[in-house]
Structures are given as structure tokens and as C-alpha cells.
Symmetry: D2
Subunit: 295 residues, 4 copies
Amino acid sequence: MAVVLGPNRYGKAETRVVRVAREGEVHHLKDCTVSIALSGAMEAVHLAGDNAAVLPTDSQKNTVYAFAREHGIGEIEEFALLLARHFVDSQQAVHHARVAIDEHAWVRRGPHSFVRDGTEVRTCLVHHDRDGTSSVVSGLRDLVLLNSTGSEFHGFATDRYTTLAPATDRVLATAVTAGWRHAGPGTGSSADSYASSYADSYTGARECLLEAFAGTHSLSLQQTLYAMGRRVLERRPELCEVRLALPNRHHFLVDLAPFGLDNPGEVYYAADRPYGLIEGTVLDDAAPPAGPAWD
Amino acid sequence: MAVVLGPNRYGKAETRVVRVAREGEVHHLKDCTVSIALSGAMEAVHLAGDNAAVLPTDSQKNTVYAFAREHGIGEIEEFALLLARHFVDSQQAVHHARVAIDEHAWVRRGPHSFVRDGTEVRTCLVHHDRDGTSSVVSGLRDLVLLNSTGSEFHGFATDRYTTLAPATDRVLATAVTAGWRHAGPGTGSSADSYASSYADSYTGARECLLEAFAGTHSLSLQQTLYAMGRRVLERRPELCEVRLALPNRHHFLVDLAPFGLDNPGEVYYAADRPYGLIEGTVLDDAAPPAGPAWD
Amino acid sequence: MAVVLGPNRYGKAETRVVRVAREGEVHHLKDCTVSIALSGAMEAVHLAGDNAAVLPTDSQKNTVYAFAREHGIGEIEEFALLLARHFVDSQQAVHHARVAIDEHAWVRRGPHSFVRDGTEVRTCLVHHDRDGTSSVVSGLRDLVLLNSTGSEFHGFATDRYTTLAPATDRVLATAVTAGWRHAGPGTGSSADSYASSYADSYTGARECLLEAFAGTHSLSLQQTLYAMGRRVLERRPELCEVRLALPNRHHFLVDLAPFGLDNPGEVYYAADRPYGLIEGTVLDDAAPPAGPAWD
Amino acid sequence: MAVVLGPNRYGKAETRVVRVAREGEVHHLKDCTVSIALSGAMEAVHLAGDNAAVLPTDSQKNTVYAFAREHGIGEIEEFALLLARHFVDSQQAVHHARVAIDEHAWVRRGPHSFVRDGTEVRTCLVHHDRDGTSSVVSGLRDLVLLNSTGSEFHGFATDRYTTLAPATDRVLATAVTAGWRHAGPGTGSSADSYASSYADSYTGARECLLEAFAGTHSLSLQQTLYAMGRRVLERRPELCEVRLALPNRHHFLVDLAPFGLDNPGEVYYAADRPYGLIEGTVLDDAAPPAGPAWD
């Protein structure tokens, strides 16, 4: 046996940057949390504490702030690509960069006054390698949805431990975590023209998720998951793969019989734990290999 | 010295009830978390473990669900009053009831499909005593606001430990926790006619908070707090006292000079901790005594 | 009607200070979160945005760090009193100071190496007024306890909504939040000699809570609460009042009968919500008035 | 383009089970959170809502409770393997099972009285496939460590955005998330004799992490990470791979010069965000392929 170093990465996580763009009286706001992870020729630092290849995470944080000033923050995917390429291009020891950005939404209340909008977070995850390839996954998390009818669950497998009654009308509720992989950019050159569409892509994909959740008469949450992913791929040709994680936030019909009351689908107890967790991938069968896109 | 029992209360906390009201195809949703605390002749249970006066917290939970079925859930203040009066009226040992309800907002996406709306929570805190008096405080929490200009802070006291520079243009951001006390209902009889206005009152008071925050050129967060409370009282005659807790979520202008960049109010670092915390009460000088209303 | 300013306070919340005391190779660690709230002649800032009376919360934060260097951090109650008196004594407009400190525990692993110890947090809440009076409440929170037997609950009141079965052997689990008020210091002069006993007092009171929880055959959580408070007061003459908040973290015996299994007190489901919440005060009938001690 | 279903899995997450083992007066406690994910022939449910292959997540929850009664809960790895094999062996459509268990520690205070011990959580992640192979990863998270000296960081790469000063004496603090992969069991037959060593393995590996953290004079957190992983592999021949995620919880020396004070490594500000995040794998170069072990 010999002990060796395996895959590794390091960087500054959760740098919170708020960018104000001033257009006279009218201000525009971008509120992001940026996490950077770099990897490459990092043996010496692990094995011998030699930091010559290590760009401090503090410098990475500074770069986020400086780039926000120099380039502004447009779509988060563009800003993430800008950062990822910068580290790979400027640091010889850095062979690969991963940049994840969360964007927190604000709604305008006045020319320079804003209200935070919701728990939902727009996300992106970008990789850039020194071989010139990049990958972009966009997404969201904490989009909480509920259908108060139009959901069934029956005909399932049973075993010695099954007590669940079949349901022909149940509440279906979930908090969506979704990511969608862009077919491009594969190479740096086409990236910039491509970039302009991230906003459209986000709005469109999100709308597909909402529509498919609300519009699918559900026989299982798996069926709904697949319908959501399929809708995104069918409507958004720029995307080639969707991954969804859907907790099944159980809403149990309360038994009111002991109190002489019926409960025709009116009063529910929303449980915290345990919960079902349904995870799945829907993809274009011609999608290029994902590589590290989701890591 | 003699050891004695002082003030005490007990009850079921955080019962989550989701109420669906069905109007044919169209469903309506109420999603609430209810916390009950009862007090009264509870010496025997503390001193001797005699539970004869103790209505189980499990029964309190059941009551929430049964009342949701029997009475529906209209405005949370009404539902809280209904519960509070029930426990005081039906249990001889219960002399006083406190009911707090959080309401989680949903936005409609279809006839029976909904999306959770925001981090903001509508709240109420109701007390009812066996002497017939009730108090109602309505409010909200986690309403996150930001002004990207129109805020100054200078002319402050200084001491040996002061290093803060005066600011003539800063970001002002906070997460509002607010409560407003209703002048009525003082007695049970007038309560029901009064009740119909809780929804209006909430919408109106919330709008006052938003307007005053956005519209006040702020010389300090205290000044903004007072303006917010004052606006509510001036516009809503049914309210007699407002309490606000406003964390000052500091947004520090990042020093970009080391990178040869200026930063004219564009790039900020949003800090988590520490934060300023400004708490204050604004009231009508003719307000009746608060009694236990805020406890 | 006239709108007026009511009670108010402001300050820096959650300043995290880590203090290393070096004794040659051997280091000692104090890890605290300090929250300061000042009040006094603050009308002008609320009504007119005049900050002349406002010592910035940033200066308060600086004071925490500077005092940690100048005075070290001994018992948190002493450090809180030092800060509270400083603000009242040095700022004419500050008539009253409230300082709350959380202490996070570390266990030694080497001369200068430490491991965080538990979720439990030691707390204090100190008030100092310009009339010279001070109050000190010490305590803890998130002390999680469980008895797997020795707990019953029966003979309780019942109503139409009661379905709970009497229990003669149940699991009793809680997360203790406790505070104990020191009879002294009433005035500044005696405070310092008194101060040396805070560590003893903490260790002793905490041990009383643990002993009384483990040692009480419980007929209700209220009975256990009272026994815990009583034990503290009987053993610690320096204390005059104990306040406890005990969530009843329900552990439900799982019904295994559908699987042909009995469950003789072996397999439990630990629920998150809802939970019972038992709050109570136990005090020496000769305790001096609490004043703002618990606010 | 054709839309197809990719990798997917489903199951019950975060089933909390508390198991009491009664040995006369003396009770023993196991407190676990179990998450199950099954995968296999699940096309029909995704594409057509046909649930015939879907064992309800409710049945999975029931199985956790029933198995806790029937088999007790010994080492969490054994319980996880028992569950994983059960689902694969008993459900034809389930080709692969993943079971993750968190164990929450309690310290004894009496024959049947316990105190929760720390934030630290013992973890395991088990996979079992219908081809008969299993993998076991054991680990922990939220083990919070701090060295108040013996840590340096200098000689690092610099760029235009670097302002960090070299440090020759800094505080090093982290919250360890670690997993270690067992070389066996590769096949079912040898698993049971192997199982008896999980407790030893856990205690031993944890001690290695603590020792290496405290004992390494650190030139970078990467060096410490590697030393921690290496120590585990060198001492525990039953393990073949260690993965570590170490947030660098920055403790910044407070600048007290404005107050006329020096700060010789005594007063630190502990920041929440951003933080460095160092992730790395240390492995035996003869380790068998990991397969899905870490997924």
C-alpha cells in the first residue's frame, strides 16, 4: 500500500456580493452568493505545505468584487464563466475552475427601493477546463409548489411492511431543486453570443416546470418529475439535460372521525419529516457527455 | 425563604394546519402554524404532578384541526380568537389563553395549483382572559427591504472606540419584524363586527411600512423606524400601537483601491454578523394599556 | 390622538469575539457572542434623525474587542457588567444598557488545540441603569435531555377533542432553556467580590437541572420543570428566581402490530412538530423585584 | 432528439428512529436518522404513472421501525446494510439500494437518563447492488476543531487581486466532514464477520483525525487535510479511501491600533461568510474502484 492524493479542489465559498447599477435616479440591483473551487497541480501544497501554486481564497474573493465593478453582473452564468476562465487562464497551476452562483431576487418598489422576493433562489454551476471546454448548468431551488387535487397514488407494490392505503385524491406538494444543462457552450468562441439567452432560458425553463407541475394529473411524483423535465427539453432546444430533486412534502388528511366530523379533503397536517425524496434525470438522447458539469 | 411557583403557561406549539376550501374546481388554500399557551389554576400539576387541570396539548392540537373543519380559517386573528375563547370558556382551570398564528402565503397558479410566496410571514398574537377582555396584535416578519440610496448616517456621538466614518450615501437594508395592536376588541360583543377588517388592516399597515421605508430620506435607521410606525398609526385609526424590530443589515462598500478601481456606490459586501438592531415602539398617546397583549 | 415614541433601544447584536489567553505553550480559549442594547435620551434621533446622542453600533463592536484585549474575558457575567457599566457611565444620553452574552464551549485536546463541545450554550443577560442598579441573569440553552422511562402522564382533563391515551411509561425528552437570576449585585460596590462566584454558580445550577431531570419520577413535564427550578433555588442561595422553557419533544411509540410485532417500549418515532411547550417560573418568595432583569 | 429517462432513485428520507434497549433498570439508546434511496426498473412509473414497481416510501419507513424492533440497531453500518440488502432481495424491481444513516450521540447520566452530546454526527453511507456487491463509507460531520497557534500561511501565489499578508502564526479552525471507505465488504459472505469492527474503526479513524489536526504544524489547510487522511489510512488497514471537506473558518486578528492597543494574537473576529473550502481525497493506491460508494 502507498498513500496517495486523489481528487481535490479548494476555493472561497459563499462570497456575498451586492451590485448596484446606477442609471440616474433609477438603480438596478444584483444580489449574488459566489462559490469558487479551483483544482490543478496541487500536490506540493498537500504533501509538503508548499503554497507556491495556491492562489489564496482571499484573492478569489477580491476578484469577485473587482470583476463586479469592472464588468458588472449580468446573467449569473456569464459572470460565473468570466470568473472561471479568469482563474484557469491567469494561474498556471489551476487546470480547472468550478464557479457556482446563487442569485437572490428583489422586486422593485421605487426608483432605488426593493423588496426581497421569495425563498426561491436562481442558481448556476459552471465549469471551465484548460482544454478550453466549459459547461453550464442553470437552475433553481426552493420553488415550493402545491396541488390541492389532481394527484393519486395507488397500484403500488406491497410487502409485509405496507400499510399505506391507496389514494385517489391527495395533496401533492414539493420544493423543487432543478438544474438544466446547456447544450453549449462547448468552446469559448461561441460562448458570448450564446450568453445573451441565459435570461430567456431561465424564464422559459422555470415556466415549463410550473406548467408541468400544475398541468399534470399525477399518478405518482415520479410521473410529475418526468413530465417537468420533458416539458423543459421539448420547449427549450438550447438545453440537453434536466435533473430534478423533488421532496414529497406529505400532507396527511387529519382523521376527524373521533370528533364526529368528516374530512372531505379539507384539513391536512403538513409533516416535516420524514419525507419522500424523488430524484431523476431527463435528457436528450443526443446530449453530449456531461463530463464534470454536475459535480 | 420559601420556594414558590411564579407565572407559567403551557400548550401545543407549532401545529401546522393546511386548510383547503373547495369551490367546485377552484380551491382556496390557508397554510398556518398555530401555537397555543394556556394558564390558570395550575399549581397542583407543578407541585404534585396532579394533572386534573391539564387539558393535554394533544387535545389542543386536535382542536385546531377540528375547528379548521367546523369553522374554516378566515383571517388568522379571527381563528386565533375563536381558539383562545374556546379554551377559556370550556376549561374551568384555564383563566387565560394566548394564541399565536403564522400564515404562510401562497399565490395561485391554477384552479387548484399554488406557489409559495416569499419568506415573509403574516403573524398574529391574541390573548383572551376569563374577565372577558381580549387583545389582538397583528403583524409580519421577514419582510426584507433595501434602499440603495437615500440613506445617511453622520453627526453621531463618538468616543475613544469610534472609527466609523460619517456616511452621506449608504445602502439601508433590513428584515422587518412588526406588530400592530388593535384598539379593539376590548370585549367579546364588538369583536365579530370588528373582525371583518383584519384583512384590510393587514394590507393597509403593510403598505404603510413599505411606503415609509421607501419614502423616508433616512438620517438613521431609528428615524426610519419611527416614520414607519407613525405612518401606520396615522393611516389606520383601528390601530393604537406599533412595535418594530429592524436589524441593520450592513452593506459595506468594498475598497477596490488596491486593484486600481474606484467604487462609486456600486459593489457592496453584505455582512451576516454582527448587525445593528433597532427596536422601538410608536403609539397613540391615548392607547389603552397594553396589558399582556405583547407577551 | 397624538403619535408618540414609546420604549426603544438599539445596539450591536451578535458580535463574535474569540479571545486567546497565552500562558507560554498553553493557550486558553473564550468564544463569545455579545449583543448590546442601549436606551436613554433617544427622542431626537427617532423624531428628527438627529444622531448627536447615538453612539454608533460600530463603536460598540469595537469596544467589545478592545475590552477583550484590555480586560480579558473571565466569566461572561463580569464581562457583560463591564460593558454595560461602561456605556452608561461614559455616554450621557445612555441611561440604561442591556448586554447579553452567549458562550460557546470548547474542550482541550492539546496545549493549544480545542474541540467544540456540544450544542449547549452558556448564556447571560445583564442590565445596568444609571441609578446604579444592575441585574444579572445567568443560564443556558439547548441542553438536550432524555429519560427513557420514569415518566407518566394520566389523570388529565379531557374534552370533546381528547383522544390521547393515558401513559404510565413514556419517554420524556426536552431541550432546556433556563435562566437564573442572581439575588445580587444590587449595587455596583458589592458586585466585584460577588463576581468571582459566577463560574461556581453556573456549574452548580446546571448540575441541579440535570439531577432533578434525571431524578424526578415525572407525572407531567410541569412537575419536572418545577422540580428543576426548586432544586436550583434550594442549593444555590445566591439565586432568587429560575425561569425555564421546556419543549416536550414527543417520542411516540411506533405501532408495530400491523407487522405482527409488539413494541414493549423499544422503538420510538421522534417528532419535530408540533411539540408541547411548558414555561414556568420558580422563585424565592423573598426575591427582590425583577425589574427589567428578564427583558 | 428523443427525450429519455436517465438515472433516478427514490425513497424515504430522514426517518428518525429512537431505539431503547432495556437491560433491566439500565437502558441503552440509539438515535438515528435513516434515508433510503432505491433504484431499478422504474421506467413505467416515470413514463406512464404505473406504480407496480414502486414500493411506497411509507413502507420503507415502516421497515426501518420494524427492523429496529426485530434486529435492534447495532453499528449503523450493519443496520444500513441490513436494510439495503432487504430491499434489493425482496423487491424484484429494485436493483440497487442506498442507505444513509446519521447517528446522534447521547451520554449517559443515569441508568435510563441521557444528555445529548455535541453537534457532531456519526454517519454512514451504504450501497448494495443485486450483483451482490456492497460498499460501506463511514464518517462524521460537524466535528469543530481549532488550533490557536501552530498554523502559518505564506509563500502563496499572488496576482493583481492579492492583498492578503503572509501569516506566520494564525488561528486554524474548521468543521470536519469526513468519510472513510471500507476496503470490504466486497461480497455478502464476508460482511458479517467484518461488521463487528465498525465501532472500532469509527473510534480509531476519528482519533486519527483529531490527532493529525492537533499534531500537524500547518503551512496550509490542504497540508493538514492530507495529514488527516494519511493518518487514517496508515493506522486503519481496513480502510482504503478518505474524503474530507474542511471549511476554513477564518479567525481574523482584530486591528486594535486605533485604540492605542496592540493585539499579540489575543483577540479574533470569527467570520461566518465567506469561508475557504478545502476538499480532498486521500487513498490507498491499491484501493478497489469506488463504484457508486460515494454517490
